[in-house]
Structures are given as structure tokens and as C-alpha cells.
Symmetry: C2
Subunit: 363 residues, 2 copies
């Protein structure tokens, strides 16, 4: 029996899903375009009202002089680091060992830009001011990811973030924000996007995480920085004749969801408490600091798959299509709260978690 | 008076346009998605039925083992040349001096891949077998563009193309096709896409030239070549979570227009003859070999702008929003025949060209 396939099937068949905003299907695009006038002109190679207005809006939100829309964060962030590296005359940059550039991009930063990343901190913890102070000389740019996704979406205290920023400015080290989930951390910090971004020289944000768009990213910074980034965007093959199929959904879902991040965050805390009340489950972080966390099971992946299939069949609730094996007797998955969570009645949820706890105890 | 702006305004205000398929506006996307089921699942990082089926369809059309959908041709072609360069262990590639990679990509090939292009032939003519034989040793890959856009869309004789292909195979030089307008040249050659592509080791095609989609490209070749191209696509930041906003329009307009290329080609020949009948105008090529050609005026850009504005106001026909200055007393523009041309009554067109000829004689 192919358990992995079965969990995925059970998840897809479940009428209720805990996480996210709903399935990634063509409806997402159609809804975003429903109210858009047919004769609206396309953007053309980065120019035109449609792209320029959205870039200006995002620059203002992020408190930066200018912003550029990119097809992907992979492209935007490599380019940001390349620009800072060229300006500083050093190929050395620093980031977390589980940074997106290090583990999800087939080493594009090294293969295309020949940058040499220094991996700061351990794989299981955040970068600290101490780590930054111990980087040694010659680092052109430090990249910080808020929240640090691969460790459950953890965040440094705001005071530590400010101290890191102050240290980098003092040392002439450029500070870049991987803000793929920036809006998601604002309720915890109690800050505006512009306030957080003011600590950084350049910022990338994504439109298909908490925002729930289709794809696309924005890179923001000073006008000369973003101007240079457009040249690299062309070089990377990202200066598409038309990016509006991503821009219009980005704008639509940004406006629809940016003010719901507090609600998602509250949902994540509530849900993490329910998970932590179950035998053999712990969440990372224990108390979420954004809309995301990781669920860790102290049982083998095969056992948990069987339990989640049963759970899904009995309750109609799907948790995840797949589990990550983290050891012989441990596995985990990532969870992001979105629109769907709020639609599940609390009593139903508590009853379901009662069943989950029983299934885990009996395992 | 800002003539350039006025020509653009006159063009945009003209109810009839000679070239293309219509304005690049949101309608193009909406039409393509109108018949698409809302619950169709998105592609996910290059996987899923939607992308895989279209890639398989294109591989078959091009007679290649496999095909990969890319957001842009800029990305696809740099990657093709990089793969062949790595395999051959040489950074030297060859292409035309007006190749897209040389003049429109901010030197991405050099800045990101450190390849060293040898520019073959003159800027005003096609690459010949003789040029290829004189390239010297150590060229990993030769890129040929069919048709050669920047010189009006000229084509080599098919026999010469076959001879270049045979020579490259004999010498172990990889041959890559810039087929941005591949479908557009098939009526002239009287060949299928697969027949033309069989002369090449790798092929790129575009979906927003004659096909009239929104953006996007396909790179095709052997399975190991396309497999490697996917790794580079990730590195470039082109492996987007969802490419369906481009794939669905590409498929829609491909099916709608691929069989109309003969009609566009016939229209281009007819229209070029009308232009060539006018004083101070010549087309390049004189007799088109695809749906495209360049219109050259033997008058200053300012003069021609004034004439085209008058022409447009009197006839309601718009030629172009802008002219390229090619000398003190010469200018030109590029023209691609699409769906719109067939809708203009012949008598109206001939009367209009009578006026154009008069305006040019009086200039």
C-alpha cells in the first residue's frame, strides 16, 4: 500500500481543510480578474500604468523609495544580493543554513552569480546578534528571513532585530529582508511593514504565501538599487512582456487579505494549543508568532499517515497531503492559517482534536 | 510639438490597425480563460497535468523527445546555450550580430553564464554556410534565428539550412534554433515544425509573436537536455509555483492561430506589394517570407511621422505607434500580419495606399 499516496488522496477528498485559503486552482485567477475591465492595457516590459501603480503602492507600503515587481522571489533575492555584492566589491554574503537560496534554488546564487554564502547560526535556531558580530570581515550583505520558515516560522525579538540592523549599519554591511511572509509577522511585532522595513536596505515580499495570489514578488529599496535590479531582471529572463497575470491577482488578494493577518495569527495560536494538547504532538514554535507553525509527531511517518487517514475519514478534516520524515519515529508538516480556518465551528474542531488525541494514544 | 507622442496617439486613436491581432489588453487573458473550468488544478513548480500535457503536446509538434515551458525566451535560450557550452567544455558560442541575446538581454548570457559569443555574418545579412565554415574551432553551439527578425525576417534557403545543419553535425557543433517565429515560416518552407526542428539539437518557440498569447516560451530537445534545463530554470528564478496564467493562453491561441500562418504570410506579401508601390518606400524583404517585414521610408522620421498622422486621420488606419530613425533621411518600422489584416476591405486598403503615395510624393 502506497501510504503517501493515500494520505494525499484522503486530504484531497476531505471536505474541510484546516490550512490555507483553498485549493490552488484556476478559480483563484478568475476571481481576481472578474472585476477587471477587458480593455485595461497590459504592462509592457516593466512599463505601463498597471505595473507602475502597483509598484508605487508597494513602495509606499514598505516605506521604500521604489519597488519592482518580479515573477519570483528566487530571482528577486539573488539579484538583491548580487547588487550589494557588486557595490561592496565582495562576493561574500551571509544567511541562515536553511535560507531559501541555500536549499530551494539549485544553487542559483553560486552558479549564476558566483557569490559565496557564509551560513550563520545552526539549522535549528535563529541568527542572533552574536552570530552577526562573529561573521568576520568582508561580508557584503546579510540576509534575514522573517519569519524563519524552515524552523516553524520563528522570529527574533524586535529589539534584537533592531540591534542587528544597527550593527550592520555601523559596519557598512547591507541588510536584506527575505520578507516572503512579512505581512504575516506584523501582528506579533505590532509594527507596520514600513517600520520593519526601515531596518533593512532592501526587502523582498511574496504574493502567494499569506496573501494567496498566484505567483510574483516585489523587491524594494532605494531608486538606484531598484533601477539596477531591473537590468538584472532583464538578464535573468524575468522582464516579461506582460506580468499582469500575476500583478492583478497580487493586488486583488493583497487588498483582500492584508488586514486579516491578525486573525490568521490568532487562529494559529488557538490551533497550535489544540495540537499541543494531543499525545505525541508538539508544535514549533510552541506558541506561534505568525500564521504558521510546524506540527511534529513523535511517531513514525507510516503510523501518522494511517492515523491522519482515519482522522480525515471520520471527521472530514484534512490536515496535509504529505508528511516529512524527520527520524525513524518522528515526522512533521508545515501549517499556514488562512481564510479556511475561520470557517470551521469551534465545537467541531474540539471534538475532532479529541478523536485525534485518542488515535495517537492508541498508536 | 512632440511628434513621436502624436504618432503614438494617432495610432492608438485609429479605428483600424494593419498589423497584429489587436491590442495587448486584459481581454486577451479573459478570452483564453473563458472556457476553462474553475476547479482545474494549477501546475505546481513544473508538475501537474496542465503543464505536463502542454509540454508533451509541444514536444510532439516540434518532433523532440521533451519540452519545458518557460516564462520567457530570454531565459530559455541562455540556458540552452549554457547547457551545450558545459557539455562541450567551451564557453564559445556563435550567433548573428543582431541576435536577441546580443542586443535585447542586457548581456545576460555574458553576465550570468560568462559565455563568449562569436558574431557571425554582417548586421545586414543572414548567416551563410560559408560563415559557419569559417567560425574556427572550439564553438560549442551555433544559434540560428528563423526568421532573422532584425533584418526584416529574412530566411536562408532550406537547402542552405540543411547544409549548415549537416556541417554542424559533422563537426560536433550543437545547433540551436531561435524559433520565436517558427510557425510563421512554415508556409514559406512548406515544411512541418518537426521537419525544420529535426535539423536542430534544441529549439525555442514563443507564444506571443504570431501565436498572440500573453508571454511564455517552450524549450525542446532530448530528455536529458530538457531535464538539465529544468535545473537552470529553477536557478534563474523561472520555476514559478504556477505558470498556468501563461500556459492556458498559449494553448488557447496556439490552437486558434497555428493554422492561420499561411493566411498571415499571404497577407504580408500582398501588403508589402502595396507598400512597395508607394514613392519613397521599400520593404525588407521585398517579398516577405513570413508574416513579417520591415517598412523603410526614404524620408526623415519627422516627415514620415507627419505623413502617417495625416494618413491615419484621413483613412482611420494606424500603421505604427513609432518609427525607428535609421539615418538623417530614413526611418523604418516592423510589421507583423495577424488577425486584423484580413478584416480590412481590399478596396479601402487600395484607396488608402493611393493617398499614402500622394502624401509621400508631396513631401
Amino acid at each position: 500500500m502506497d501510504n503517501s499516496k493515500s494520505l494525499s488522496e484522503a486530504f484531497n477528498a476531505a471536505p474541510v481543510q484546516l490550512a490555507g485559503h483553498g485549493k490552488r486552482e484556476v478559480r483563484v485567477l478568475k476571481e481576481a480578474f472578474a472585476g477587471v475591465e477587458e480593455h485595461m492595457a497590459s504592462d509592457m516590459y516593466g512599463t505601463g500604468e498597471l505595473i507602475e501603480e502597483f509598484q508605487a503602492e508597494m513602495a509606499e507600503v514598505l516605506g521604500k523609495e521604489a519597488a519592482v515587481f518580479f515573477p519570483s522571489g528566487t530571482m528577486a533575492q539573488q539579484i538583491a544580493l548580487r547588487i550589494w555584492s557588486d557595490r561592496k566589491g565582495s562576493k561574500r554574503v551571509a544567511y541562515h543554513p536553511l535560507c531559501h537560496l541555500e536549499i530551494h534554488e539549485q544553487d542559483g546564487l553560486k552558479e549564476l552569480h558566483h557569490l559565496q554564502p557564509l551560513l550563520l547560526a545552526g539549522k535549528d535556531r535563529l541568527i542572533t546578534l552574536e552570530d552577526v558580530k562573529n561573521m568576520g570581515a568582508g561580508i557584503a550583505c546579510l540576509l534575514l528571513e522573517l519569519p524563519q520558515r524552515e524552523i516553524g516560522g520563528q522570529l527574533p525579538d524586535y529589539a534584537e532585530l533592531e540591534a542587528i540592523s544597527a550593527y550592520c549599519r555601523e559596519q557598512g554591511i547591507m541588510l536584506h529582508l527575505d520578507g516572503a511572509r512579512l505581512f504575516e509577522v506584523l501582528p506579533y511585532y505590532g509594527k507596520t511593514a514600513a517600520e520593519v522595513c526601515s531596518l533593512f536596505d532592501s526587502v523582498y515580499i511574496s504574493f502567494y504565501k499569506g496573501i494567496g495570489g498566484i505567483a510574483g514578488a516585489v523587491l524594494a529599496g532605494s531608486g538606484d538599487f531598484t533601477g539596477e535590479s531591473k537590468i538584472w531582471k532583464r538578464r535573468h529572463g524575468g522582464d516579461l512582456i506582460s506580468l499582469y497575470p500575476y500583478i492583478i491577482p497580487a493586488r486583488h488578494y493583497y487588498r483582500q487579505r492584508v488586514d486579516k493577518m491578525g486573525q490568521y495569527y490568532a487562529g494559529a495560536k488557538e490551533l497550535a494549543a489544540l495540537f499541543n494538547g494531543c499525545h505525541n504532538i508538539s508544535t514549533l514554535p510552541e506558541v506561534p508568532v505568525s500564521n504558521m507553525f510546524h506540527v511534529h509527531f513523535a511517531l513514525s511517518r507510516e503510523q501518522v499517515e494511517r492515523i491522519l487517514i482515519t482522522f480525515s475519514e471520520e471527521t472530514g478534516i484534512g490536515f496535509t497531503p504529505r508528511l516529512k520524515e524527520t527520524g525513524e519515529f518522528s515526522c512533521s508538516y508545515e501549517l499556514n492559517i488562512g481564510d479556511l480556518y475561520g470557517g470551521i465551528p469551534k465545537a467541531e474542531l474540539e471534538a475532532a482534536f479529541g478523536l485525534l488525541d485518542r488515535l495517537l494514544r492508541e498508536a
